[in-house]
């Protein structure tokens, strides 16, 4: 292909030199004027906001970096935190994080075995990344999940391949948060599809009523009441001698809770499928499950992926509520790390540390959901 200039030359016209726009229409100064100082009101707001931003940033940096205490003498019970106490209010006590980060991240997991939960966290993140790539959106993904979750179970419990056994009571920290969120979605998602399908069964009023009652009942009460139910009431439900561990009970409560919210999202997707798709499937003589599995769900789920990711973010944040019934998730280990008298009163530092971890996970997912929405929208607008 000939370059445009050469093409122009063959046409006999003089090559047109690209001219830059006049200097009063571009450049950083013009941008500043249009976006920050367009009117006297805008200028005043900009200056006021800039003043507050700069002064707050400076005082935060003073607290978090300049006056911060990074290290204190002694460890464990003999730790001497008087330097932190002296700097209270003026400087952050990051020594707390240095001393306690292993506890905050992994809870009471045996100290020498903490590489295992660390690997598990990496596996979880890899699992999320793989599931996020559209290239892997196929049936084999279910097998990958199965394999990964098995591997996680082996690593956490141990007892095989020379790994010492670690009872579940000692698990804690980030791993518990990731387990609650991931297993929550893995079980709540299929359940929510069944409930959403049941919710649309006009020919089966009893099933429909059952699904409506389930969804509205769960969505009408706070998660805490379900968690209380799981921790206080659940033992009464089971026959004598049968006992389910506390983490599993909380997990069941989270699954039941999330399924109701996910069901409403899936229902939205189902409603968006044109009636013609159902009728065409019927005309082909497909059975109900063939129609649902081959025609309706693939389209409906694709539409609902962005809101599904948003619901998942909400669920990830909501796992922190298990703190209230005494399960050691990431937030609870942070809260517990400041219980020792030496570290009492440094909650702000501990919470900022876990806030950074939560933020990284949720922000990544929310950006992903926004990008996905834009991309899927592009396909539909064509």
């Amino acid at each position: 292909m000939t370059p445009p200039a050469a093409e122009a030359a063959t046409l006999g016209a003089a090559p047109v030199r690209e001219r830059s726009p006049p200097s009063f229409a571009v450049g950083p100064l013009v941008w500043l004027r249009a976006n920050l100082f367009s009117s006297w009101l805008s200028t005043a707001v900009t200056l006021l906001l800039a003043y507050f931003l700069i002064s707050w940033t400076l005082s935060f940096l003073n607290w978090a970096v300049v006056n911060a205490i990074w290290d204190v003498p002694g460890t464990g019970q003999q730790v001497d935190t008087s330097a932190c106490r002296a700097a209270r209010g003026e400087g952050a006590c990051w020594a707390l994080i240095g001393e306690k980060y292993r506890f905050i991240l992994f809870g009471l997991y045996p100290f020498d075995e903490q590489w295992r939960p660390a690997v598990v966290v990496v596996i979880f993140v890899a699992l999320y990344v793989v599931s996020a790539m559209r290239r892997f959106w196929r049936k084999e993904l279910a097998l990958i999940w199965l394999a990964a979750l098995t591997l996680i179970g082996v690593l956490m419990w141990g007892g095989v391949f020379g790994l010492p056994y670690v009872e579940q009571e000692r698990w804690g920290g980030l791993v518990i948060t990731l387990i609650l969120a991931t297993f929550g979605i893995a079980f709540a998602f299929p359940l929510s599809i069944l409930v959403a399908l049941g919710r649309r069964q006009t020919s089966m009023p009893a099933v429909k009523a059952l699904c409506v009652v389930y969804i509205e009942l769960i969505r009408g009460v706070p998660l805490i009441s379900l968690l209380f139910m799981a921790s206080v009431m659940f033992p009464l439900f089971l026959p004598e001698g049968m006992n389910i561990d506390k983490l599993l009970r909380a997990q069941i409560a989270i699954i039941l809770f999330a399924a109701a919210y996910l069901a409403e999202v899936v229902r939205g997707g189902l409603q968006a499928i044109p009636k013609g798709q159902y009728e065409a499937a019927d005309a082909l003589g497909l059975t109900y499950w063939q129609k649902t599995g081959l025609i309706v769900l693939p389209q409906a789920l694709r539409i609902s992926i962005p809101p599904l990711v948003n619901t998942f973010i909400g669920m990830f944040k909501d796992t922190s509520l298990v703190l209230i019934i005494g399960i050691f998730d990431l937030l609870n280990t942070a809260k517990t790390s400041i219980i020792e008298p030496a570290w009492q009163g440094f909650g702000v530092e501990a919470y900022l540390f876990v806030a950074a971890i939560y933020f990284v996970f949720c922000f990544a997912m929310s950006k992903y959901s926004q990008d996905l929405e834009r991309e899927l929208d592009k396909g539909r607008r064509r």
């Binding site: 706070p222 805490i224 009441s225 806030a355």
Partner: protein
């Protein structure tokens, strides 16, 4: 059977009516069968759980029924909107809890709506700095668990110095680990009367507004409302207050011994909960408001401008009524969320219904009744909010004729 070849449409209309047959091929029979199976399974599961529970309750000698509501509670409650002492019954204690929940939820919903609207509009601002600040606010607050935020604010408030070294940012406002103290007027009869006059004025202004719109419909001229509004909302309450002797004594908080006396108080628990709920919910409301405004077509602004409306009138008369239709349904679920999220109060020790019901469960051992009360309260509140917002939504919906 051959189809009739005649073109008489009456013969073609209805499908042949089949008689009911008890056959597996009949969809109705299948539907009934599956419904019986599913209901049977669910019913059997529930029966199994209830049976187990009954047996367990009997074995552990746990009392059942709501008899305990009339017993003396003996549980101290820090803040209460109605007179309460530990000698009162459990029923009264739980009522205090419900009122505390409603207090934080209603105040939170109003303030979160105000803040959320401001932030949502700020995100659309032409000023780059303002838009960016609002965007960062929304992103950060939405991506952190609410419980973490509540614990953070509570830790921050508890980290404040004691009352003797209380921070004093301005006037007679004191920040200490006992809460926020601020000056408050000594409440007297005249103030209640003035407040009542204000409410009456509000209703009158609303009625006048409707009357003036009707006048505009009839004559094309809309009488001015604002002089009436000032008269009814400012002059009337002030006049009532003046007529009753104009009492005005400011009750300032004063340090006495180890704590403050007098003045108004926000306890650290209430302040942390309210602050956390407002900041968190406002981030979501901001996104809803932004989406609502963006949903109104640009041409609506331009058409309103072409009619000679000012920018404020364009927003108020043309854009907002249309944006509200998009905003109200998701806003409803945010109000439901703030109510349900107020239950996190139990983690920082604000005594809402969940916290008090939890203590009741621990004291009486009657878990089923306690949790049933919590669920019933929230279901009632949720249903009420839904009904009200549905009514409001129907009122502002597009009137299609």
């Amino acid at each position: 059977m051959q189809r009739p070849t005649a073109a008489d449409p009456r013969d073609l209309r209805a499908p042949p009516r089949r008689g009911f047959a008890l056959s597996w091929r009949d969809p109705t029979v299948r539907a009934v069968f599956w419904q019986i199976v599913i209901l049977g399974l669910v019913g059997a599961g529930i029966w199994w759980l209830v049976d187990n529970t009954m047996r367990n309750l009997e074995m552990r000698k746990i009392a059942t029924g709501f008899r305990f509501l009339e017993r003396e509670a003996g549980l101290p409650i820090g803040e209460s909107l109605i007179p309460y002492s530990p000698a009162d019954t459990y029923f009264r204690a739980l009522t205090v809890g419900v009122l505390n929940t409603l207090r934080v939820a209603i105040v939170g919903a109003i303030l979160a709506t105000v803040l959320g609207t401001v932030v949502g509009i700020a995100r659309l601002s032409k000023n780059w700095l303002v838009a960016k600040c609002a965007a960062v606010y929304v992103e950060v607050l939405r991506d952190l668990p609410l419980l973490l935020q509540l614990l953070f604010w509570y830790a921050l408030l508890q980290g404040l110095p004691g009352p003797r070294q209380a921070l004093n940012p301005f006037g007679s406002v004191y920040l200490s680990n006992r809460g926020i103290k601020f000056p408050w007027i000594e409440w007297q009869e005249a103030h209640s009367a003035a407040l009542l006059a204000f409410v009456v004025g509000l209703i009158a202004v609303w009625g006048l507004g409707r009357l003036f719109v009707a006048r505009q419909m009839a004559t094309g001229v809309r009488p001015r409302l604002w002089p009436w509004a000032i008269l009814l909302l400012v002059a009337l309450p002030a006049g009532v207050w003046w007529a009753m002797g104009a009492p005005f004594t400011v009750d300032r908080p004063v340090l006495r011994g180890f704590n403050f006396r007098g003045g108004g108080t926000l306890t650290p628990e209430f302040a942390a909960l309210l602050f956390g709920l407002i900041l968190y919910t406002a981030a979501f409301i901001a996104e809803i408001v932004r989406a609502g405004i963006l949903a109104v077509h640009q041409g609506q602004w331009e058409a309103a401008g072409a009619l000679g409306l000012t920018r404020g009138q364009q927003l108020r008369l043309v854009v907002l009524p249309q944006a509200l239709r998009v905003i109200v349904p998701p806003l409803t679920s945010q109000y439901l969320n703030i109510t349900k999220n107020s239950s996190l109060a139990v983690a920082i020790g604000y005594q809402d219904i969940v916290s008090i019901a939890n203590t009741t469960i621990n004291q009486t051992g009657q878990a089923i009744e306690g949790i049933a009360i919590i669920m019933l309260v929230y279901l009632t509140i949720s249903l009420t909010i839904s009904l009200f917002m549905n009514w409001f939504n129907a009122r502002i919906a597009l009137k299609e004729r």
